[in-house]
Amino acid sequence: MKLEHKIIVDWINEGASVLDLGCGDGELLSILVKEKNVFAQGTEIDEQKVYKCVEKGLSVYHEDIDAGLSEHPDGSFDFLILSESLQQTKRPDYVVNEALRVGKNLIVSFPNFGRYSIRFQILIRGKVPVTPALPYEWYDTPNLHFLSISNFFDYCRIKNVKIKETAYVTDGKRVNLIPNLRAETGIFLLSKGN
């Protein structure tokens, strides 16, 4: 199991209801069903990936994250997950807001744009970075927004979002020291602030 997935699985309690926004082929949801016996529901825009989810016995909405979220009642899921998908939504601020309304908790993971190798590529090479966590060229990337771990801390402070847990990962290992410079991926467990 990918360390990113393991961290998320550890944060989710047994039997919880989970909505994975941008669930891809359902890998994480499948693990959650097996390990934590969750009520699993996914959202995925790619038709072929929807077929993969159904093949795994998962329930998935074939729709855009931005479009379908508003239809869910308040607090109707214990956990919402945005695993590597927030940066691909058209309106991330709206999505986080809605996700915090629908989910009692929200887990967000994203590729950290503050990492030294990315800074290096921009600063020295003068090019938009291509890294293992951000493997796309500028002309065919699904990523519409780029953010760093520091950016996300700022965001949570400004928007009064409560950060309950954080984890940082590079190359399948935990990063604890200066994560904004060293981590490939930031993972946050959030809930609504007071």
Binding site: S17, V54, E63, P73, G75
Partner: protein, 399 residues
């Protein structure tokens, strides 16, 4: 003698089930009473000891009980042969499949062309108005006769999907899952309008005789034109282009300047003429009316309609279907979200239009096969969280 229920063999694999002998008639939504009621039905596969592997397949406007031939060369192809059979998506080695002709139909079930026991003649226009709910209530009697407490799944496309939705609402405790395909929670003005053109065509045919044409020449012209309109709505612009283009064929004889010349005209003519041989015009009127009256919400809010339902649902739409556009399927999904029902939605990118649900579309087969598999294996199916909704969410449901 009263409340007697009987099963009999009609022809080929088609059997019949009768119930509702007076004074225990089927009470219709209109308040009228209909009885005795006969349902033509077929079954495929074996009902298991726990009676938990039964799937009810519901047909569309012009369908019948003969859903599958199971590869038997001595019976005609069923309307869903590509889906039902050994090792197919609806695997008859695993599931017990039931398909019945709807009431109001003309393929062995009680309808306007059946004999009215009160007069000894065909009902014609004396047949009461029936609704999708009435169709489903009749099916429920058939399901009861097999002592099946809970269906593994109820599924169907178009009007078959309406029946699946009706089962979800009227008998939420009698099914573990449902697959409404290419369907809607209520007929839109466009759908009603298209049906009305078909009905006017039939009723405008002098041979219709107010519905009392039995024993005379039936209104074949009117019914054929109704079917032609129908077929246009079942295809898409793309599929018509691919199938016909602007190809022409020389007319058989120089009888008229307006003889059909284009392939598409010939096709519609053929479809219309073929249909009148196998379908009753009055049934067409009654069944299209049932579809037009269909409104599963019935003044309930979207959040209320599936309340209490604990089933797994899969909604399928087709991108090129303009008769039942995907926004109508998304409404069903929205109602599932509000009720906290575990649901799958897929908009399949097919170019076949509304027809796609009946054709051999691999994506649809794949979805149904794996969905049924997960329901039978209990994957998540007992974990419906509808009952977990908090008060706040419930309040919102009532909006």
């Amino acid at each position: 003698m009263t409340d007697q229920k009987t099963h009999a063999v009609l022809q080929n694999a088609t059997k019949s089930f009768s119930f509702g002998n007076p004074p225990n008639e089927l009470v219709l939504e209109s308040g009228d009473r209909l009885g005795p009621v006969t349902l033509a039905y077929e079954t495929y596969g074996e009902l298991d000891a726990s009676r938990s592997n039964a799937i009810l397949v519901c047909h569309a406007l012009s369908g019948d009980a003969h859903a599958a031939s199971l590869g038997n060369p001595n019976v005609p192809q069923g309307w869903w042969d590509s889906m039902i059979g050994p090792r197919k998506a609806i695997d008859t080695d695993r599931y017990f499949v039931i398909c019945s002709n709807v009431i109001g139909g003309c393929k062995g079930s009680t309808g306007p062309s059946s004999i009215n026991p009160k007069t000894g003649k065909q009902y014609g226009s004396d047949f009461p108005i029936i609704t999708v709910k009435d169709m489903v209530n009749a099916q429920r009697h058939l399901v009861d006769s097999f002592k099946i407490e809970k269906l593994l799944c109820v599924l169907g496309g178009s009007m078959g999907g309406m029946q699946a939705l009706q089962w979800m609402v009227t008998y939420p405790d009698r099914l573990r899952s449902a697959i409404p395909i290419a369907t809607t929670m209520k007929h839109s003005p466009q759908q009603i309008a298209l049906d009305e053109v078909g009905r006017q065509s039939i009723m405008g045919d002098p041979n219709w005789r107010g519905g009392a044409y039995y024993g005379h020449v039936p209104p074949v012209r009117g019914l054929a034109v109704a079917r032609m309109v129908g077929h246009i709505t079942y295809m898409s612009d793309v599929s018509m282009n691919e199938k016909f283009g602007r190809k022409t064929r020389s007319p058989a004889k120089e009888s008229s300047k307006f003889e059909p010349v284009f392939e598409v005209e010939k096709y519609l003519e053929y479809r219309g003429d073929d249909f009148v041989k196998r379908f009753d015009a009055n049934s067409y009127l009654y069944i299209t009316k049932a579809m037009d009256y269909f409104d599963i919400l019935d003044s309930k809010s979207l959040g209320e309609v599936f309340r209490g339902l604990r089933a797994k649902v899969m909604v399928i739409a087709f991108k090129s279907d303009w008769l039942y556009p995907s926004y109508q399927s998304k409404e069903i999904v929205k109602a599932c979200k509000l009720a906290g029902i575990e649901a799958t939605y897929c908009e399949v990118s097919s170019t076949y239009g509304h027809d796609a649900f009946l054709l051999k579309v691999d994506e649809e087969t794949h979805l149904i096969k794996h969905f049924l598999n997960s329901v039978q294996n209990g994957n998540n199916s007992t974990k419906n969280k509808g009952f977990l909704l908090n008060d706040e969410a419930r309040a919102q449901n009532n909006r």
